[in-house]
Amino acid sequence: MVSEIPVKSREPDKTALQKRQLLEKGKSLVSQLCATIRTAQIYDRSNSVYVRQAESLLGLIQGLLEGTGEFLLKSKEGYLFLNDTRLRFSFDGYVAGKFIVEMFRKLQFECIFFSPPLIREELDEFVFILAHADAEGEDPFENLQKRVASSNIEHLRVEKFAPGSDLGDESEPEGQKKQAKKRFFKTLLVAQETMESAKSKRSINTVKSKRAIQFLIDQLIKDEGKLMSLTAIKSFDEYTFAHSVNVCILSVALGTRLGLSKGELSELGFAALFHDVGKVRLPIELLNKPGELTEEEWVEVKKHPIFGVKALLSRRSIDRFCTRAMVVSFEHHLKLDHTGYPETSAQRDLDLFSRIVTIVDVYDSMTSGRVYARTPLTPDEALRRMLQKQGKSFDAALLKVFINMLGIYPVGSVVILDTGEIGVVMEANPAELSCPEVAIIADRFGKREKVETVDLTKLDEKTGKHTRTILRTIDPHGYKLEVARYIY
């Protein structure tokens, strides 16, 4: 199938320029396709907003068909490919990319084939079928196939997952969840082991950590939601380690949005995982102290960024992972407005990785409430407070990307819906920040027999309005409610 496509060049000297142009076109295709489908969810075929959007998409596809003949858009292991060329997204195209990957995943197909001569009518029919496809029915793909077959579409077709692709067990939501959990705990163990060795001033073995982080990154690329939801569980015994893993996951997720390469992501993950490694040198009583810290205790706590550098320094050799981690350890409590600690002789331009880790670190600390005896904030409240400090403490643009990633009701938020139901946010929806996936834990009569996950982006067929919207969040801590139970 794939081999029939004549675009692929075998020449070693295939010009980089051609490749780049193809990449750019591929990215536009994805963002136009996303925009068109989303417009089709809201407007009908005669609406001028839709018509304009569809025209533009058609133009783009026809351009590609002229240049390359038949081509395909494929999703594999969480990546999108135009024929054999992987499309890489930066923060601006990320949401569209994610949207398309999610659509492929939910409707259970692997690729769309485009062949000439494609006309508007076909494209419209196809887009509307996709826009209103039912992802929750028995066999979403079967359904989709039927609808395409019964229409007049000739030059577009979808194909199911090819045999041997990466799904298998993990295609089941439960299998994926289990996989995500395993990876989360594996990293937790490695982090613990590594930091314990830093504590006893032994040399740190980094290979294990690097490999664990690779697993996390692969998981994040495949299915970001499952892994990110685990960061909302704040009830682990060893706070510092869980915090480290959370910061690692959320930092890498943010880095993915910025379009960082795998190499950069693993450096970022490593630096994030060990941003607080200096804390192992602080007395445990100080870290777990209930109540406010005294001034002297604060002086001690403020040493941990430098302790971190020293701990990483004790390694036999120093590679790029370690140098970057030392920079981040040193800088992660320095603020954009040059306040914070430790003191420096000159103002520093903070590293991008430090800026990322600072945002994630503050978010996780605020919502965990274990650090220095603060009361935990609800996730949405933490974001709200951070927004107030943007530009002073945090890089404003990065913070925005971060909130776009988490949604305004991040994973772990307990929400009251306009239906009177109580829910726990499970996964953000990149396209609609206020409409996450929610596990309904009680109905409007207070009954809680079975937990059901619903997607708040869903519209009521009759009214065209959201079936459920979030009224407000509540603070679960007062009721001893552990969101972990639902996230698991």
Partner: protein, 592 residues
């Protein structure tokens, strides 16, 4: 790992297929070796790679994939060995197996860049098999679409807590009544009050917030793009060093400080062994800066500061000691290609007391470009510490001595002559020649006198060079010596080029003062070997014509009246030359 018997399972692989895989793996191995052996500008590695790529692509077109199993010392295809590591440790299979790779699969659609990436990764691990570079990490980072690898993973089985482990004793009723039903149905329970938290977004607020979050202003897009661009050029090592200095400055615990210095020391040694001279030089530069900063702090130095400065200085000194620099020479010798500018930067960052150790590198380094680099460094470094070059002057290897002589000449300081004096009689003419060249460039009487002494060197070339140098310097001390040489009966038997050089040098130094001596030389009679003597006369007239003054011209005109035909003609030619020279220079012809 237990040896598995694959024979039965994979019987369908025919001999032709197996043979072609063997050939491909051989190509892979050759490509890898060629990168290790040949310098980067050699076309051979690329040829191998292209061949490998073509071969693999053809194979994959026919078979869709090529799956290799990795044993501890061999590669298997369909259960049959297609490659075996050589005797020495560190073969292709070993490198892959050691880091946990158990399968390597090439897929149809393979791109040339992917081959290059794969080779680069393997090359990195080959180069330094003991380093902590993790092949799996490098391979994973390359993110190749058509080269897949399978890794053993002993850690994946971890106990995952289950949802049932989470306690389920929360106050559901109270939550429900205080947050949802507000006690309309059933019992009224006290509501928990969180004034600041749990706010509801008003609809208009929410809309505004969403709009604000979704849309990125051009400034925001710009700021992220700038950050990403900076990130591409980010050198974490530089930043890390910067931070180290920050920590050095504030460190108050001397033993902690000492430990850090030990680490820096260790890191330096590692960097040198890895040929990362750039980073090493950065470290030494930062240390220098640090010492300067703490010493400069208001002039007041307490004992802690002193101690810290001393420790840091110790590390810098050690960075330039003989052991370290010998290591450095070795690393440079071991490498075919080498960015010598980073080595230059490292040596330049060292203190002047490392000069003798740097000089000894001239002995250890094998290639000319490397020694030239060291010479350049020493020229700069030894400017104010000439005496430290002394060791090189007495070195048993002639090339070391010559290089040091050259350095002294390039520096050009008067004191250099004192050092060069020790080697004016060096047994190797190449050294003496360099000494002459250097003396010419050194100011002062001492150098001039030494240069004069080379006029009777045993080597003709050196004598000529010395005479020309003396003329260039207008060295008056040379005149009596030159007169003696020219007056000597044997002078006419000297080789012509030497005669010419001596006479011209004499004229060059003496100017008008030398006219009468040269005229006398022309007029002198000789009964034996007249042709040899005529040769001397011709050169003497030539020397006269070079003085370029009315007096010299007049003297030649007088000589042109001589009966001797050779003398007459030479003089006439010389006069014509002078005339046309004058014309060219726009001066009127002489009265006479």
């Amino acid at each position: 790992m237990p040896e598995l018997d694959f024979e039965t399972e994979f019987e369908q692989i025919d001999a032709v297929e197996l043979d072609s895989v063997k050939k491909l793996i051989q190509l892979l191995s050759n490509s890898l070796k060629s990168v290790l052996i040949y310098p980067s500008n050699n076309p051979l590695p690329k040829e191998f790679r292209t061949k490998l790529y073509k071969g693999l692509s053809e194979f994959l077109d026919a078979h869709d994939e090529l799956n290799l199993e990795i044993g501890p010392h061999q590669l298997l295809y369909g259960g049959k060995a297609v490659y075996q590591d050589g005797e020495k440790e560190g073969g292709m299979a070993y490198i892959l197996h050691k880091d946990g790779v158990r399968e390597l699969t090439f897929l149809k659609g393979l791109e040339f860049e992917e081959i290059e990436d794969l080779l680069e990764v393997m090359h990195t691990c080959f180069k330094s098999p003991d380093s902590e570079e993790d092949l799996v990490t490098l391979l994973w980072e390359k993110d190749l679409n058509h080269v897949k690898h399978l890794v053993v993973d002993d850690l994946l089985d971890v106990d995952v807590p289950s949802a049932e482990d989470v306690p389920d004793d929360w106050d559901f009723d109270r939550l429900f009544h205080s947050e949802v039903s507000f006690g309309e149905e059933g019992e009224v329970l006290p509501k928990i009050d969180h004034p600041d938290l749990s706010q509801k977004y008003r609809e208009d607020q929410l809309k505004q917030l969403l709009k604000q979050l979704k849309e990125f202003s051009p400034e925001e897009v710009g700021s992220i793009q700038r950050a990403l661009e900076l990130n591409c050029r980010y050198r974490s090592l530089d930043q890390f060093l910067n931070i180290l200095v920050e920590i050095f400055l504030t460190e108050e615990d001397l033993s902690e400080f000492g430990q850090m210095m030990d680490t820096v020391d260790r890191v330096l040694v590692t960097l040198i062994s890895m040929a990362d001279f750039h980073s090493a030089s950065k470290i030494v530069q930062e240390l220098n800066q640090f010492v300067k900063t703490i010493k400069g702090n208001g002039g007041q130095t307490d004992s802690l500061t002193n101690e810290k400065a001393q420790r840091a200085t110790g590390v810098i000194d050690k960075a330039g000691d003989r052991e370290n620099l010998r290591r450095m020479s070795q690393v440079i010798n071991d490498r075919e290609i080498m960015d010598l500018s980073s080595a230059d930067a490292y040596l330049s960052s060292l203190h002047w007391n490392s000069i003798p150790a740097v000089v000894s590198m001239l002995r250890d380094l094998k290639t000319f470009p490397a020694r030239r680099m060291v010479c350049e460094v020493l020229t700069e470094k030894a400017k104010d510490h000439l005496e430290l070059l002394g060791e090189g002057i007495s070195d048993p290897n002639w090339y070391v001595v010559r290089n040091v002589a050259k350095i002294i000449g390039t520096i050009g300081a008067e004191d250099g002559a004192r050092l060069l004096r020790q080697i004016v009689k060096h047994r190797d003419r190449r050294v003496r020649k360099e000494v002459v060249a250097s003396l010419i460039r050194i100011r002062g009487n001492r150098a001039g006198n030494l240069l004069v002494s080379f006029l009777d060197d045993e080597d003709k070339g050196i004598r000529i060079l010395a005479s020309r140098g003396l003329a260039q310097r207008k060295e008056q001390e040379a005149l009596p010596v030159l007169e003696n040489i020219i007056n000597d009966d044997q002078f006419k038997y000297y080789p012509p080029e030497e005669k010419k050089s001596m006479l011209e040098s004499f004229a060059g130094i003496a100017g008008d003062e030398g006219i009468s001596f040269l005229v006398k030389t022309v007029r002198r009679r000789s009964w034996l070997k007249r042709d040899k003597h005529n040769e001397t006369r011709i050169f003497a007239i030539g020397a006269l014509s070079q003085i370029d003054s009315r007096e010299a011209e007049e003297a030649i005109s007088q000589l042109a009246k001589k009966r001797n035909k050779v003398v007459r003609q030479t003089c006439q030619n010389a006069l014509r030359r002078i005339e046309s020279r004058r014309m060219r220079e726009g001066q009127p012809a002489g009265d006479t």
